[in-house]
Each structure stands twice: as structure tokens, then as C-alpha cells.
């Protein structure tokens, strides 16, 4: 991708993450690599939300973790605000933690059950020495809780006293406590009840407007991703197969996988449903240990050509509006 404008907050260039697989009982032999993320490139502009969708095991969470430096990239470079952050030093890493934060999927597993809400939300403030003095600390935590729609009077309670939606709000308060510029939202609503999901999505949108946040929004629910994202990248088995603006991707999907994914999501309206084209993808996601040769999607693809069995397609730009597709047969 050749856009050289400098309003990109994040640039991910040909980043890969391979996890080695070992076998054998006494002498551990390396059997091969799981290519969780394989030469993935994308950019996120300032203030933008990039949605990253795909099925389980496609590498979307690993991509988020690579950006946050929770995982070391095997190849490639990641630039944040123009600086290379692929392998940050200790000091640099500390600074970066203030700039980028994460909201996790599981509101039950991601909060320490032995800490009060005040300790959870306030811990980043203490670690990074943002507040001076107890009064300011207390005030700041109260303020954060209020922003995410929780009553500050509940700050001394423990996570188990809260419902899933409220816990997710606590996680969000913690993520914004250091005024980050960039947040990775890793499936932030998929563990929540339907009526609560909308509350959290609206909160994330409100925070984005208020603080000018940039999001990488990872999810498998295409309807949610469509609602919140400006641009969307679709991943399949470690590769990005299509990137486009929201309107382009949903109105004019090019890649057969994207089309199948979209048609698999039912619309809550029986009349619309009856008229929609049903495009069912056959088969199941192959193992990452032993992915198919050529285009990884070809065994399930209804439009596969002979070349798809041999050569893996490159992600190429189709339109000026920034619609990129990796497919031999568009």
C-alpha cells in the first residue's frame, strides 16, 4: 500500500507471526510453524476505526497482540505515529503503553477478582505516575467511572458484584485512564447480552468522539463491525483477503470469502431474508498447521481456478477508493 500521507497513526507492514510446533517425547523436534499471521499489511488513520473480521483462528487477535507488543513479530515492521515500534526497548515500551491500550473480550477473566474497581481502574495511574497525591487519584478514578457510565460510589466494590456489561465498562475505564491515542478492542461485545451490546458500542463511539481515539476493532460479528468501523479488513487463515471502506465492502464485496461471510449473517427481518441471495461456503476452515497450497481459501471457493491451487494471490488495489482484494478471479 503506497499511500504516503502522514495522517496514518499506525502502519503495519508485511508482519508475520509464526508459532513453532514441537513434537517428540524426549528430544523435542521442531515439527513446523503455525503461521498465525502471515505477511499482513494495513494502516489506520488518526481518528479512524478499522474493523478486523474473520472466523476463529484466522489470526485477528494475534494481529492485535502484535501491535500492542504482547507478542513479538517474526517478520515485518509496525510503525506507530511514524516511529518503528516492532521491537521497542524497555523505556520505549513504557511510553507506548500510555499511547495504546486494549479492551479484552472476556469481562470476567480480564479483571483481577481480588482488586476493587478503584484499584483496577487506578492501577495504570499509579504505575505511570500520572496523578500526584491521593486526592487527585481518587478524583481521577471517579471521573473515569463517570465517563463510562458507572456510579463512582461503587468504586470500592469487587468485580464479581457487577454484571457483564458493567464489567466491560470497568475494562473500558481502565483502558482510557492514561489518555491513550489508540485502543485495540478485541471482541469487546461478543460476550455480552444483546440488549447490553448496544450500550457498550454507543459508549465506545462516544469516547471516540470525545477523546479523538483511534480503534482497531476486532470482532467476528459482521453487523457490529459494520456499525462501528470506517474501513474493514477481512482475514482468513492468517492473511488479509480484502480491505475496503465500509460501504464498499458491504455493498460490493469482491472476495468470495467476504461474500460468503456476509451472506452467512442473517438479517433480523424475514422479508429481507427471503429475498437475499444465499451463498453458503462449503467445508470447514483448514488447519493452520497444514494450510492448503496456493490460495488458502481455494478448497472452499466456488470460483477457484487452476492458478489458485498453485500461487497464493497478492493483496492488490482494485479501486482508487482503497479497495484491496487478494484473489486471482475477481
Amino acid at each position: 500500500m503506497s499511500e504516503k500521507e502522514n495522517n496514518n497513526l499506525l502502519e503495519v507492514k508485511a508482519v508475520s507471526k509464526f508459532f513453532p510446533v514441537h513434537g517428540g517425547f524426549i528430544f523435542k523436534r521442531k515439527l513446523g510453524d503455525i503461521k498465525a499471521v502471515d505477511r499482513v499489511s494495513f494502516q489506520i488513520k488518526k481518528g479512524e476505526t478499522l474493523g478486523l473480521v474473520g472466523e476463529s483462528g484466522c489470526g485477528k487477535t494475534t494481529t492485535g497482540r502484535l501491535i500492542l507488543n504482547l507478542e513479538k513479530a517474526t517478520h515485518g515492521t509496525i510503525r506507530f505515529d511514524g516511529k518503528d515500534i516492532t521491537r521497542p526497548g524497555k523505556k520505549e515500551n513504557r511510553v507506548l503503553k500510555k499511547e495504546m491500550q486494549v479492551i479484552f473480550q472476556d469481562p470476567f477473566g480480564s479483571l483481577n477478582p481480588r482488586m476493587t474497581v478503584r484499584e483496577i481502574v487506578g492501577q495504570p495511574l499509579i504505575i505511570h505516575r500520572v496523578t500526584t497525591g491521593r486526592a487527585e487519584y481518587m478524583q481521577k478514578v471517579d471521573y473515569l467511572l463517570e465517563i463510562v457510565g458507572l456510579n463512582p460510589a461503587m468504586a470500592d466494590r469487587y468485580p464479581h458484584e457487577f454484571s457483564g456489561g458493567q464489567r466491560q465498562r470497568i475494562g473500558i475505564a481502565r483502558a482510557i485512564s492514561l489518555n491513550p491515542r489508540f485502543i485495540v478492542c478485541d471482541e469487546p461485545v461478543s460476550a455480552l447480552d444483546v440488549s447490553i451490546q448496544a450500550q457498550i458500542i454507543n459508549l465506545l463511539e462516544k469516547l471516540q468522539e470525545e477523546f479523538g481515539l483511534t480503534y482497531l476493532f476486532i470482532a467476528h460479528d459482521l453487523a457490529v463491525v459494520r456499525h462501528i468501523s470506517d474501513r474493514i479488513a477481512v482475514m482468513y487463515l492468517g492473511n488479509i483477503v480484502e480491505v475496503a471502506s465500509r460501504a464498499d465492502l458491504y455493498n460490493n464485496p469482491h472476495h468470495p470469502y467476504t461474500r460468503g461471510l456476509l451472506s452467512a449473517v442473517p438479517v433480523p427481518d424475514p422479508e429481507v431474508e427471503a429475498k437475499r441471495e444465499q451463498f453458503v461456503i462449503k467445508g470447514e476452515v483448514p488447519s493452520l498447521m497444514n494450510p492448503p497450497k496456493g490460495c488458502k481459501f481455494h478448497p472452499r471457493c466456488p470460483r477457484a481456478l487452476p492458478i489458485c491451487h498453485e500461487k497464493s494471490p497478492l493483496l492488490l488495489q482494485q479501486t482508487d477508493a482503497g479497495h484491496w482484494v487478494a484473489c486471482h478471479n475477481i
Binding site: 447480552d193 451490546q197 448496544a198 450500550q199 459482521l222 452467512a264 449473517v265 424475514p270 444465499q278
Partner: protein, 322 residues
């Protein structure tokens, strides 16, 4: 259409440390032959418990079916003896459970598990049952089904395990199939494959299907009629076409407005239902939804509304006309 099953005033209570939880509170509905009924609601609304109680699968204690009747083929399942109910389970009424990972027995082969209902209910010999199991697996599109019979569940992927569950549920050609969140644990493309397959197989055999889910889209695509549940009660009952076109209960309306849809305008903010789902052990007085309801009136705080008919085949439990 002939009435196949009718549930009248069914109540299921659980005794917990915090008191009695009314997981299902006086619900009534009918199921006709060959139709697909969707039961939709959020976690803890009693949709799974209401389905489990059809087969008397409620663990007792702590759970107990405290009242009502379930009429199936002219008899009350709640009064049936243990032997009678065992004869119905998996034979006339089959269940497909939520988690294909945990609901198959890990120490038995897939073949043994798919063939078991045939040997129990139709007194088939091992060989005969195995041959039929191969056919059943083939029907749900498991490749090399003859060879996979000897595999254990862990050798199957999630989607294949759920296929095996479907095969198991369908082997005895049941009259009713209950699918409890059949695809929640699966990826969307697999979800679409399996639900379409299930619907197709029930159309072929003429069985009635009950789909339990929290996903309004799945209901829209596959169900003929819908029960919407909230806090243990049915709050709205209608044909699927009617429900989506003219939702009448404030909860249903709220639920529909709160989910992003693939075909709607994007920049509009979602309209969430404010507040939290209630704690079943500590339900509010009157209508359980009133603390979250925009239209609540004085009466809602005092009396729980009964279901009332508002048009042909459309009932709601609400005091207000929204």
C-alpha cells in the same frame, strides 16, 4: 395444522441460596406439526429451562417443575412414568445441545453414540444400527462417514461434532427436535451451513423444530413462529413475519432497535435498552421489564400483565398499547 405439543402454565423453580428463582413462570404455547418455533431471549430468561423441562431434564434438586402440563400425543409428559419418558427422549422428542464440545461422550466413538438411540429405541442389532449410523452421518455431510464411525469426538472439529449431534438427534425420526443454541459456539459460515441443513432435514421428515437462540437474525431466517421471553415469562408470541414487521411489546421493540443490522443505515446510533437484565432471585414487583421500560405506567409496577391477544396469532404481555 395439527397441534403436536401444547404447554400450559408451565412453571419451573430453582431453590438457591438466595431464595426461590422462578426460571420459568407460567408459560403456555403450542407447537404444530412441521413448523419451526423460535424461542428468543437473553441469557437467564428461561428459554433453555423451558425446553429442558419438555423432556424432564431439569436437575432435581435444585430445580423443580412446580406446575402446569405438557401435552404430547394426548398425554401429559409431566405425569408420565420414568420408563415412558425414557421412551420419548431421543425417540419422539430429540434434543440438540448447545455445546458440541461437551455434550458428546469423549470415551465413546461417534459411531457408538449415533447408533445408541437406534439400539435402545428400535431394538436394532449392533451391525444394523451401525449401518444406519453411517447413513445418518452421510446425510449431515460428514465425508468418509463409514471410516469416521470409529473416531472419537476429539478427532472431530467443532462443526463436525455438531453435525454428529444432529445425526444423532435425527436417527429415530423424532416428531419434535429441540435445538438449544445449536450454533452459538460455531463460526458464522459453519452456523449457516448447519442451520440450513437442520431446517432442510426437518422439512424432509416433517418434524417440528424448536430453535432456542438469542440471535434475532437466526429466528428471522428459519422460524415460522416466535416466542419472546423475558425473566421467565413469554412477553410476546407471534408469527415471525408479524413479529418483525409489527413488534408490539416494548422489550421486543427495544431488542430490535438495539442490534445493528447488515441492511440498515449506518450512522444512526443504536438505541440500547437501558439498565441491566433483572436478577431472577429478586424480580421487581409487577411487570419484570418495567424498570427498563420507557412506556411503563402505574399499573406496571403493581401487577404483572397476562398475555392478551391483539390480533390474529399475535399476543403480548403488556398493559400499554405502544
Amino acid at each position: 395444522m395439527a397441534k403436536l405439543l401444547s404447554v400450559n402454565n408451565l412453571s419451573v423453580h430453582f431453590s438457591t441460596g438466595n431464595g426461590i428463582v422462578k426460571a420459568v413462570d407460567r408459560i403456555s404455547y403450542d407447537l404444530n406439526t412441521g413448523e419451526t418455533l423460535g424461542i428468543v431471549g437473553e441469557s437467564g430468561c428461561g428459554k433453555s429451562v423451558s425446553a429442558l423441562s419438555l423432556l424432564r431434564l431439569i436437575p432435581n434438586p435444585p430445580g423443580k417443575i412446580v406446575g402446569g402440563e405438557i401435552l404430547f400425543e394426548g398425554r401429559d409428559l409431566l405425569k408420565a412414568s420414568k420408563e415412558e419418558i425414557c421412551d420419548i427422549r431421543g425417540n419422539k422428542i430429540a434434543m440438540i445441545f448447545q455445546e458440541p464440545m461437551t455434550s458428546l461422550n469423549p470415551v465413546l466413538t461417534i459411531g457408538q453414540q449415533v447408533a445408541e438411540p437406534l439400539m435402545v429405541h428400535q431394538q436394532m442389532k449392533k451391525k444394523q444400527a451401525a449401518a444406519k449410523a453411517v447413513k445418518a452421518l452421510k446425510k449431515v455431510h460428514i465425508p468418509d462417514s463409514g471410516m469416521r464411525l470409529a473416531d472419537y469426538p476429539h478427532q472431530f472439529s467443532g462443526g463436525m461434532r455438531q453435525r454428529a449431534m444432529i445425526a444423532m438427534g435425527l436417527t429415530c425420526a423424532p416428531k419434535i427436535i429441540i435445538a438449544d443454541e445449536p450454533t452459538t459456539a460455531l463460526d458464522v459460515t459453519i452456523q449457516a451451513q448447519l442451520l440450513t441443513l437442520m431446517k432442510q432435514l426437518t422439512v424432509e421428515t416433517g418434524a417440528a423444530l424448536i430453535i432456542i437462540t438469542h440471535n434475532l437474525g437466526i429466528i428471522a431466517r428459519y422460524a415460522d413462529r416466535v416466542n419472546v421471553m423475558y425473566a421467565g415469562r413469554i412477553v410476546e408470541k407471534a408469527s415471525a413475519a408479524d413479529l418483525y414487521k409489527y413488534p408490539k411489546h416494548p422489550y421486543t421493540i427495544g431488542l430490535m432497535a438495539s442490534v445493528p443490522k447488515l441492511d440498515q443505515d449506518v450512522k444512526a446510533r443504536l438505541q440500547p435498552i437501558e439498565g441491566q437484565p433483572p436478577d431472577l432471585a429478586d424480580l421487581p414487583e409487577g411487570c419484570a421489564f418495567h424498570p427498563r421500560c420507557r412506556h411503563s405506567i402505574e399499573q406496571c409496577r403493581v401487577n404483572a400483565p397476562p398475555l392478551r391477544t391483539i390480533s390474529d396469532d399475535h399476543e403480548i404481555a403488556c398493559w400499554v398499547d405502544v
